[in-house]
Amino acid sequence: MSILKLENISKSFGAVQALDGVNLSLDAGEVLGLMGDNGAGKSTLVKIIAGNFKQSSGSISFENQNVEFLKPMDARNKGIEVVYQDLALCDNLTAASNIFLTREITKSFGFIPILNFSKMFQRAKDIFKELKSETLPEEEVRMMSGGQRQAVAIGRTKLSQAKVVLLDEPTAAISVRQVAEVLELIKQLKKQGVAVLIISHRMPDVFAVSDRIAVLRRGKLVANKKANESSPEEVTALITGAIESA
């Protein structure tokens, strides 16, 4: 049963048609690999699901109900978490502050709510341990390596019990070992029944974790099929347009 269903989604930015009539659904516990060339519309699709953009036309249903996400909080409150391509980190804040941004833990100081640093640091530390990342909760993000920044961005999705996790190029800027961690994390999420959409240019990564592969070309969905019925060669041909659709 699908948890998230996109029907006939189109999006234009002025004259640019970023998405053109996309139909796509995502099941609980399913990993969908979304591929496509630069500018194909992948990030735009993610941002529409996450409430960053409003689609120009088409509808989204979540758990069989028609939904309209006017702002990112609407989607997050439903259990949709996103790791953005640019990671969406504030360089001037600590790793813990970034993870807890908009979800700060507070305690009361007299009648005033104040930040509960020790709780947030502890929880962030646990999350980094789970992610096998050597990231310090109290360190500012601007000092961090690509892998650590990635861990902070992914750490956000672990704060709440997410139902859908969207990862936009989560392995673009990190080392081989860290890629393995991210793929492991995706498998864990799948086991917990979370629906995962992963965007990546790295063919082996996508095939390693995905149950299904979808391909976008110039805003149109040109393929949507089981991973074990496709192949890296076919997907490459679909991305470039050597094969029209599959």
């Binding site: 941002k47 702002k71 996103v82 953005y84 969406a88 360089d91 001037n92 941004l101 100081f109 601007r142």
Partner: protein, 323 residues
Amino acid sequence: MKKKVKIKVSNLHEIGLLIALISVLLIFGFSTENFFTQRNFMSILRSASYVGLVAFPMTFVLITREIDISVGPAVAWSGVFFVILVKWFEFNYTFAAFIVLAWGLFLGYFIGIARTKLMIPTFITTLALWSALRGYSLFITEGRPLAISNKPFRYFFGGDVLGLPTVTWIMLMVFFIFWFLSKYTVLGTNIYAVGGNPKAARSIGLNVDKIKIITLMITSMFSALVGILFVARVSSGNSTVGEGMEFDVIAAVVVGGTALGGAVGTMTGTLLGVLFIAMISNGLIHWGIDPDLNKVVKGIIIFLAVVINSNVTFKKNSGNKEE
């Protein structure tokens, strides 16, 4: 486990500023006769306090990558408005103060809405207000001070308590509140987040517009408060007070280590910046330097502060560059 003791760049700036402050103090102290007197320190503290009251909220505004240059005229108009309410409309002082502060909040709300809904830069809106508020204050008072007579109000808020100017006590309290807000509250973190990476903050669901509007509202409210406190000091609503105050406020904040590009800044830095600017202004007068040249010196100081900021602080400490 041993914890590494790290000196952050912001601390370095504050330590440097503290050393500069003490040096300036000693230089003026030993080169003039009347600098090291209690009377003079009270005078420095008093003028620093008016500036500080607006500089703390202004620090938040700058951190979120905005600016409010309407401070001086907003102070003047608020004082004039206050006296009009008590003199012409015979409101009681508390109620009039309440209305003027509410008006300050509304003014900040207007600047914030213009910024977030109409995309008008805060620099432009507050530049327009800078002209309009001063002009209207001069017009309605015909350039003359509107005197008030209430002695308790004047003596308490314009005078001293427990050995310090009342306004200094108020400023210290306000400093503590802003220091606390910036370090220990959700609002404080959100303000830094908005300045650090507004696009990221927005994409993960922070209401960036709301945060900007709040900081602008608080700042205008404090301009209004200073307007009222000035009335107590000069016993009148005066359309010419607060001239150049926006400059002192912004200079103090920037000298205190807040980056004009946002993301970076601390309340302790601003407090030191406020004292530094007040001490320089005062010391130069003791040196017998023409008040007009005083402005030249302050101009050089703010320029140097920005140069130092952009080399020491901004590159290493700032937020993400994209809007």
